[in-house]
Each structure stands twice: as C-alpha cells, then as structure tokens.
C-alpha cells in the first residue's frame, strides 16, 4: 500500500478543511438569498445538501442535511427540525445510492434532485396547507408549490456546477497503488 508523506497529509487536511468551509459558506449564502425579497424563491438548500451528500460519506451527509433542513425551517417559518429530519433521511439515502449503485454523473444528480425537491415541496404543501382543508387550497399547489419546485430544479443546475468546481480543486483524489489496482480488477 502506498504510504502518504507528511506533506501530502498536510495538504489533504488543508484541502478537506477548506472544502468544508466553502461548502458551509455556500450554504450560508443560499440561506441569505432564500430570506431576501418578497418574490417566490427556490429552496436552494435542498440541491445544495444533495450536492454535498453525493460526494461524501453518510455521516457528514446526515449532519449537513440536518443543518440545511434546520435553516429551511427558519427561512420558511416551519416547525423546527421538520425539514431537518426530512433532509437527514434524504441525504443519507442519496449518499448511500451514490456509494453503492450510482455513478457521480450530472443526470443522476438531476433526477435525484427533481425527486427529493418534489417530495420536500409536496410534503410541505400536504402538512402546511392541504391538511387544514383551506378553501381552494389547490391554488397554493399550482401557484406556489409547483413554481417553487420548478425554480429549485433550475437553480440546482447552477449549484451542481458550483459544487463541481469546488470538488474539482479541493476533493482529495483516490491514490491507488499498482497492487491495489490489480487487486480491484
């Protein structure tokens, strides 16, 4: 097995720390954007959490999902930890799927984002509007929920390339020795 030099270890630690700082900086910016203005806005933190979950282990994915969910709860005035629980489950599932079955491709990320953001929007509509039997509640689904979902999907493309850029420079690359390659193949 290839032994890392102390310099490589230092670089690895530095890059990992910097990568997570940038991840959380992006999350913070997404939160600020979500709480600004009076227009309907995409739930940016959902694709952001998925972007992070797809390239990371289950534990960091779960904590990031919980954090993003908690911020969504604050921004959208929801019961604290409601979205945190949802996004924790979704992010662990996404992380596992990319670990076990899926390749880290744009198309895989997109269909998962479409599915997860739809579930998030739909559950929000179910629990916060439809369940209370307001008159003409379907108007909210058409004029708010579906539009927010559409905006989220569109914005997820930008977030994908933003996170890809961060990962390109700061994600540690797997180094395999010749023995490991032979063993794997």
């Amino acid at each position: 097995m290839r032994i890392k030099t102390s310099r490589e270890k230092r670089i690895f630690r530095f890059k990992t720390t910097l990568r997570w700082i940038i991840y959380y900086l992006i999350i913070f910016i997404c939160f600020i954007l979500m709480t600004s203005g009076t227009w309907l806005k995409p739930v940016l933190l959902v694709p952001a959490a998925i972007c992070i979950a797809k390239n990371n282990d289950q534990m960091p994915a779960a904590f990031t999902g919980a954090f993003c969910g908690f911020l969504i709860d604050i921004a959208c005035g929801r019961l604290y930890c409601y979205n945190a629980v949802l996004l924790t489950v979704f992010c662990v599932a996404v992380s596992l799927m990319f670990d076990l079955w899926l390749r880290s491709k744009f198309i895989n990320y997109m269909w998962l984002t479409i599915l997860v953001s739809y579930l998030q929007c739909w559950l929000d509509y179910k629990f916060y509007y439809q369940i209370w039997n307001y008159d003409n509640v379907e108007n909210i689904f058409v004029h708010v929920t579906l539009r927010v979902w559409l905006y989220t999907i569109i914005s997820s493309v930008i977030l994908y390339f933003l996170f890809k850029l961060v990962d390109h420079f700061l994600m540690p690359k797997e180094h395999l020795t010749i023995e490991e390659v032979i063993k794997t193949s």
Partner: protein, 291 residues
C-alpha cells in the same frame, strides 16, 4: 447495503434522527417561543439578512420601474390632471382641512388610546420564504417585551399577530392567513359583526374575507371594519380594512364580504407591536382563541 444496516454508523444515524425528532416535539411544546438554536442563527444572520433585503428591495424596485414604465407614465398623466383638479378645489380649503383633521385623529390613534403600550417601530427583516399569506419577520423580540400573540399594527391599521418570538426577532402572522380570525364590526353602523379571516383566493390579491355576517346587514362598499375587541387578543376599535365587495356565502345562511386591509401587507417596511392594552386577555386564555 446490509453491511451499512448492521454497522455502528447506521445506529448512530438512528440515534441522531431520534434526537432531531425529539427537538421537533420539544419545539411544539415551546408555545410560540423559538428554540435557542434558532434564536442564535437568527441573531447571527440578522445583519446579513438586513443587508441582502435592502439590496433585494432596491433590485425589486428597479425591475418594478422597468416593467411598469408605461403604467407609471399613464398614472403620472392621470395624477397631473388630478392635481389640476385639486388646484381648482383650493377654494374648498376649509372643508379639506376638516377632513385632514379627521384623518389626523385616525393616524394618531395612539393618543386616543393611552392604554396601549407599544414597542419602538420594528423593521421588517424579510417575508417568510414562499408563504402565500405573507408572514414576515421583524427585528424585535422577547428582549423588547414582545411575546407570542401580540397585535402588530401600523398607524393605518391592523396587520396581524406575533406567533414565533425569539430574543431579537419575531415572526408575524398576517390577517391574510386563514389561521388568524379577527372579530370585527362596521365602524359606520356599529352593528354589523363578523369574523375577518384570510382565504387562499383573497390572499392572492392581498385581501381578506369577512365571514359569519348576517344576511340582513347594512354594510356598504367602502365601509371601514374595525376590531370588535371581543376575544381579548386585539384592542377594541382598531381599523382593519375597508369593504370592497359584499356577497352571500355558498351555504346561503350568512353573508360575506371582501376586505381590503388598510395597509398593503405585501410591502411593509416597519410596524409597531402593541404589547398591552385595556381588555387584554391573559396568555393562557388567548391561546384558546387561536385556531
């Protein structure tokens, strides 16, 4: 997958999920007060949200000008004509003066209600993301003696009620929401009682709805609706909105009316919170009046 399900990581995740559900249940029992974690994030992000909101407001105002240039031009022409007309009416100055005096009485409603204890003006930090009923967050909280279910007003009229109070911020539920009911009466007749409650359809136009109105009412379009003050949640006699349309409910048993709030709730910049007033119900009783 099986390995993952049997692993310690999976058990840790389950414990973490149980912890989050625990917090969620704890949040429900807080009775309108924010969790300390949320308060902390709200406090940390407050300056950034204020800055980004001012940028967003400028951007929205710029795009609004660009999008409605023709409309504004027409409005400008119309207003010029109106000014000309008003100039002719200068001779009726005394009548106008009386009218202004009346309006001034309405604006300085605080002076007429010395029993009100109001906060300093609160800045609107931002609207709750994607809320069709335009709930918003203000920059004052429990540190400024605000607590859940305090009426939120401007000089022009009632806006809503505080529902989620943290140390330095509070969330306000508006009268456009179906979750807030305000007992009200017509100021003209002082007899036509009803419940003002938002609906999905009226909220789209920035209006609300007056329900449970007698079919034999004498309400007219343009009548001002004021709070009845029965519930103890709102002070008596505060302006809510004007009647824009009157009709009969689908069940035919009662009448209803569309109410345009005295204030444009979708474009607020500052409000005040009434923390105490004569006839206010105790917190525990007030909770029971909320839907």
């Amino acid at each position: 997958m099986r390995q993952f399900l049997k692993s310690a990581r999976f058990k840790v995740l389950l414990v973490f999920l149980a912890f989050l559900v625990g917090i969620m249940i704890y949040a429900v029992t807080k009775g309108g007060y924010s969790l300390s974690g949320a308060s902390f994030i709200n406090t940390i992000t407050k300056p950034f949200r204020t800055a980004s909101n001012s940028i967003a407001a400028r951007f929205e105002s710029f795009t609004d000008k660009m999008n409605h240039a023709d409309e504004y031009y027409e409005e400008n022409q119309r207003l010029k004509e109106q000014i000309g007309e008003l100039n002719k009416q200068l001779t009726d100055y005394d009548n106008l003066k009386e009218e202004v005096e009346e309006l001034r009485k309405f604006v300085v409603i605080k002076e007429e209600h010395p029993d009100y204890i109001i906060t300093q003006p609160c800045e609107v930090l931002g609207y709750v993301t994607n809320d069709p009923f335009h709930s918003f967050t203000i920059d004052r909280g429990s540190a400024d003696d605000i607590f859940p279910y305090c009426p939120v007003v401007t000089a022009e009229g009632l806006i809503g009620i505080t529902i989620d109070v943290s140390e330095h911020t509070s969330t306000v539920r508006t009268i456009l929401s179906p979750d807030l009911s305000v007992a009200s009466v017509s100021s003209a007749t002082n007899a036509d009682y009803g419940i003002i409650e938002g609906t999905v359809l009226t909220a789209e136009n920035g209006s609300t709805k007056l329900t449970h109105l007698s079919t034999e009412n004498s309400l007219k379009v343009g009548d001002l609706m004021i709070t009845a003050g029965n519930s103890g949640l709102f002070p008596k006699g505060y302006a809510v909105g004007t009647v824009t349309d009157i009709g009969i409910e689908a069940n035919g048993l009662s009448a209803c009316a569309e109410i345009k709030p005295c204030v444009d709730i979708t474009r607020l910049s500052s409000v005040v919170v009434i923390t105490d007033f004569a006839g206010k119900k105790e917190d525990s009783d007030a909770d029971q009046d909320l839907p």
